[in-house]
């Protein structure tokens, strides 16, 4: 009997031949990510637990992203606590204004195929895009990992998502994952791993895969994995070792179920207020007037996303009285988007380009809205009140759709 990707990673991690779904095991942690919102809480728990050293400072990454730039006085405390903790325990990987945690973890090479990674943010599932087992945890567990380097996990069952064929021109990986979440439901993958396979997936860029792994949590998934390939190796700046190339689900692995999609069947879609699994085709929503568009986040703030938006907005202007806010996912993305002209195109079209960070997606600043306003956003959640009051309507979409809506001042489907 073969194994799925997540089973293989866990087996290797614990030195077992094989693990079974449902089995509870203790894994050795390869890397942890601590984000600025949670740092003071983690530090408090760490000390309360009685630890006096971090198990392996080189495996710890601190990232300030939700609170950058500071918008409230309380934010400063989080930087200070992080800086002091890093200095005291010899943690050198501290990113103070370089972008969103999930983007940096993969982009800066902190995560490699086959790694076991935990982060204090639910979108830690993102690193499955390079074939790592990664998931979000709370600050108490993070404090325990910092002291022990281990964590218990239940081996998840795996749902396979198989996609083959060629995507229509106006469809991005965001449209695919939204549709899949709609099909699974917001809790359809709770406690489970997703594994993406098929020639469509194989042809996708690592960035596109990242969008899908990122959003797996919106179906409740514990993690979401793609088999690492040459593209992955190049992205991570590694050559695949003896273990990594075989890190694909076995033919005879036991999947809980397999969902099969034809790429040609995907169309541009949106998640409607206020559930991520409330999916409708963009064409059915066409004409709804909008007040704001947000392009950014760990879901869709990468170079290819900004390029897709710039392509739509080239030579066009954002509609009157509509705001377009663009927040690149990282400093590197910003620099590359500047070099290729995408930033220039977007700013000329009327966009406000902010510094890389979580921005509006985490709802603290970056374009908060008021009662009755409607926003089209490329991020991962449209929960009630997430971007302002509970009377703000949030529609989630791909960067191409979002850009088209910005120009039209209404929901519209790009060609």
């Amino acid at each position: 009997m073969g194994q799925t990707i997540v089973e293989k990673i866990i087996s290797r991690n614990i030195g077992a031949e094989k693990v079974e779904p449902g089995q509870i095991v203790t894994v050795k942690v390869d890397r942890v990510m601590l984000d600025d919102i949670m740092i003071p809480f983690i530090v408090d728990k760490f000390h309360e637990m009685g630890f006096c050293r971090v198990w392996d400072p080189d495996r710890v990454v601190l990232i300030y992203d939700h609170l950058v730039p500071s918008s409230q006085l309380d934010d400063i405390r989080h930087y200070k606590v992080g800086d002091e903790f890093a200095a005291k325990y010899g943690i050198e990987h501290v990113h103070r204004s370089d972008g969103i945690c999930h983007q940096l973890m993969t982009e800066a090479g902190y995560v490699k195929p086959g790694d076991v990674v935990f982060g204090t943010d639910s979108h830690t599932t993102t690193y499955g895009c390079v074939g790592a087992f990664s998931t979000g945890i709370g600050y108490t567990e993070m404090a325990a990992i910092l002291g022990t380097g281990t964590l218990w996990v239940k081996v998840p069952e795996t749902i396979r998502i198989h996609i083959s064929g060629t995507l229509p021109a106006n469809v991005m990986s965001k449209d695919m994952i939204l549709r899949i979440i709609g099909d699974l439901g917001a809790d359809g993958a709770t406690y489970r791993a997703l594994e993406f396979t098929g020639d469509t997936v194989e042809r996708m860029s690592v960035s596109s895969r990242m969008t899908m792994a990122n959003m797996a949590i919106e179906a409740g998934a514990k993690c979401a994995l793609f088999a690492p390939d040459e593209k992955t190796a190049q992205y991570c700046g590694v050559s695949l070792d003896g273990f990594q190339p075989g890190l694909a689900g076995d033919r005879d692995a036991a999947y809980l179920k397999t969902l099969t999609y034809r790429a040609e069947d995907f169309v541009p879609v949106m998640a409607c207020p206020s559930q991520v699994d409330k999916i409708r085709e963009v064409k059915d929503l066409a004409g709804l007037p909008i007040d704001q568009v947000f392009i950014g986040s760990c879901t869709n703030g990468r170079l290819e996303d900004l390029q897709a938006a710039a392509k739509v907005l080239e030579g066009k202007q954002v509609a009157p009285f509509v705001k377009l806010i663009v927040t690149p996912a990282s400093r590197k993305v910003y620099e590359e988007a500047s070099a290729c002209g995408a930033i220039g195109t977007l700013v000329k079209a009327g966009a406000m380009v902010t510094h890389p960070g979580c921005g509006l997606c985490c709802g603290r600043t970056g374009g908060i809205l008021w009662d009755g306003e409607r926003v089209v956003a490329t991020n991962n959640r449209n929960f009630l009140g997430r971007m302002g009051t509970s009377k703000v309507e949030i529609y989630l979409a791909s960067p191409a759709v979002a850009a088209a809506c910005a120009a039209a001042g209404a929901i519209v489907c790009p060609l």
Binding site: V68, P69, L73, D83, F321, G344, M352, T354, L369, E373
Partner: protein, 416 residues
Amino acid sequence: MGMTIAEKIIALAAGADQVKAGDIHTVNLDRMMSNDGTTHLTVDMYHSKLNTPRVADPKKVVFIVDHNVPSDSPKTAAAQKKMRDFAKEHGIDFWEGEGVCHQVMMERYVCPGELIFGADSHTCTYGALGAFGTGVGCTDLLYGMVTGSSWVLVPETIKFNLTGSLPQGVYPRDLMLTIIGQIGAGGASYQVMEFCGDGAKTLSVEDRMVLCNLAVEAGAKTAIFEPDEIALKWLTDRGRRPKAVFKSDEDARYVKEYTFDLDKIVPVAARPDFVDDVVPAVQVCGVRIDEAFLGSCNNGRIDDLRVGAAVVKGRRISDHVRFLVVPASRQVYLQALEEGLIDTFMESGAIVMNPNCSVCWGSCQGVIGENEVLISTGTRNFKGRAGHPSSKVYLGSAATVAASAVKGEICTADML
């Protein structure tokens, strides 16, 4: 009796042949600007306090959202929505995210000879083009919007004779801070600061904006330069024409005269918590900083970004410093992008934001914490201006701010 430029502008707006300091006149306003710091209150008053709500001439009114951009809270969003809805309903020019209001006004509206009210104290910036711009409150602005007119007390004028030219590494901001340091925070209260002399001819329109913009920090009602060929070319390049080109008469009355030799100006800094507490920058070197800010309607233009970028190029911002770089407008941002300045700032580790008031406004972007120290190219260093009441703000030139960001403590650019 001759008149000064300011008196001539008021006379024209009042339809009078002659005005003199101390007179109160009813004037027609050429333009009114209001931003998101107060417009929600103006709109509320419009709806709740007027017997006959109306806008005399929507074409003379400009609304600019620049203070909290992008919006930082539901309350901000509500205030801005009120403004947006009102502009939409009345056909008022509306800009959001385009840049700091005074920069946008200069780029798109201000013409020599105009009398402009802005619901923001730094409206005095427009004197760089020979316009009379002055800051008012939202009640004044509302009255102006409804009637197209207002009352003004004709101010006295102080002449600032500028000679020589600024040395390398010394900037118009150093000059203006030096002037304010000398005459004091109330040194030109209710008065007009008129800049003239050979030294004035060495200054670009952007340089003149730096001087005029800070005039309110000396209490001035406005500041003004004669619209010379430099100003008129600047205006023509942007496709606009003057309303009137005024020079002060030979026998115009000045209440006081000062002469400043530009050659003698050195890099300076204003110490917390007063803009007129100005000392040579070398005297404050060594103060550890937590944040640095390059931007604002005073010092966020392309010249300033060039100066800052030249300092940080090939260097890293100190680990413990948050260096916010915020171009004053979309046009400035695009120019900086084209020149590679934005890339230079990003590579150095700076935080680059969309054009807005940012740290200078001190309420929602780059706020500083308890006992933190900021060095800024903003307009003010009042107690708590940038965040916690215990925090401290120093004002310096773009070069000093950028150099300090690299070093992690206040230093001048030549000390790196």
